[in-house]
Subunit: 282 residues, 2 copies
């Protein structure tokens, strides 16, 4: 099985590691604009060969793990190049624009729209880790538009990697993911910004910040190259979540201004309910 991974970073690299471990016969070919990343992936041993887009004629599986705007740009030509029996899937955090882009492509049935809910705040091949996907949710959109044999090949990969599959339409995916993922990143980035702006003396932040701050601001370490295109693709949904978030923050501030601390208490008590919801998420 010839597996081509386009984008040898945290996501693509972790797929490479796990696919090599799960499929003895897999040969992994890495493709990346960043030659340093390719060299790193080769010396880290999770790709077998450095490769190029033009070699895709030999692919059985293509994994695309690059920023979502680059995926939209490149996906049609990738589909043009792959053989008829090749599965192409991406791992991007938005799905609607991607699905729309290739909806009329003559090789639409070679593509599976995938979003593995997995990752860390780090990036690049050095950040790739084994078992990143184990126990994680994998959202698949428009599964019915993919050829049955290729659905099956995808499922075999995801199953050996230990993922839980959920099917959704691209619109619902983008709407819900804006709440549970994209908004978290913005709230974290802006928390980091607010604190950095205020605390010019970094020693003070470091010394006074505890694990609570570290946890809340963790996502502000994430890669702008990955996240700016996500916000661009999911613009309407992200704006909606931000508006609701800002309204809730403003209302909380007004309760403090009015000294209505019993309402403040109730707001927090109601939200404590998140404990139950989160039970089971790593």
């Amino acid at each position: 099985m010839n597996v081509f991974v386009i984008g040898i970073g945290l996501i693509g690299g972790s797929f490479a590691i796990d696919i090599k471990a799960a499929f003895n016969e897999a040969k992994v070919y890495g493709i990346d604009n960043n030659t340093k990343h390719l060299d790193d992936a080769l010396s880290l041993g999770f790709i077998d060969y450095k490769s190029k887009i033009d070699d895709l004629a030999n692919a059985d599986v293509v994994v695309i793990a690059i920023p979502v705007d680059a995926t939209v740009e490149i996906l049609p030509s990738i589909l043009d190049k792959v053989p008829d029996n090749c599965l192409v899937f991406d791992a991007g955090s938005t799905k609607k624009k991607l699905c729309n882009t290739i909806s009329d492509h003559k090789k639409r049935r070679n593509y599976l729209a995938v979003h593995p809910i997995a990752g860390t705040e780090f990036s690049g091949p050095q950040a790739a880790i084994a078992n990143l996907y184990r126990g994680k949710t994998n959202i698949i959109c428009e599964v019915e538009k993919t050829a049955f044999k290729l659905q099956e090949r995808g499922m075999e990969i995801f199953s050996r990697l230990g993922m839980r599959i959920r099917y959704m339409d691209p619109g619902s995916h983008d709407k819900h993911i804006a709440y549970v993922s994209h908004l978290s990143h913005i709230s974290s980035f802006m928390l980091g910004k607010t604190v950095i702006e205020k605390e010019k003396n970094e020693r003070d932040i470091f010394d006074m910040a505890g694990s609570g701050f570290a946890s809340t601001v963790r996502l502000a370490k994430s890669s702008p190259a990955m996240w700016a295109p996500i916000f661009k693709h999911n613009k309407e949904n992200v704006i909606e979540t931000l508006e609701e978030y800002i309204i809730n923050l403003t209302q909380f501030k007004e309760l403090i201004e009015k000294d209505d601390f019993s309402a403040i208490y109730k707001e927090m008590e109601n939200t404590n309910h998140i404990k139950t919801i989160l039970k089971g998420i790593v």
Copy 2:
């Protein structure tokens, strides 16, 4: 050494556990309005005796670990009751109001204003753990107003518990801590609220939420009984941080609306700098 711990929850209980481990001769007396908590602390073995405020005449050390508004209310009468050579310290997340309240108390020199930057999102005696304070920052305010011998006793305790000491005035403490702690809690609570409001179908949140959301919303599990009084005490500073946070979020939203994704990129890239600042925080 007779140590009285008022408030046998996460913070007080963890002090009890570590002080018992670090001082062979320590006897720990627990005081709590919640009799169930007292019974739990006794059966968990981290207090030796259940006790009452009126027994404080025998105290060598009093640790106050109750919500900050309750501490302000009770601290003067605690100082009235303790013997002349007794050290009283609290562990509250705001310091200015507390220091002001007892500034003219005749036993001011028995009090040390302390804020250990340590905790988890859990509460109650079951949440108390050993070594919670090891390697953590302990902020001490107005140290010069505490009797030298009692400063020394406090330092001996904090040193054996493995804490790093930092001295600050109460006003600066409250201002900085609003940024690195209080704002994180509100951003997390309101993130939880925004997502819960939207996602009535909780299965969907659970299945789509990854470790990023879990981390950012972790503090929304915190105790309202502890946090409502903190926001009340630190009202002005908290409002200021919230205003700046809301401005930054609104500006980020406007950049998305204007499709200025290169500015979005730069905002995130600048904030990535938090990596360096956070290095070393657990």
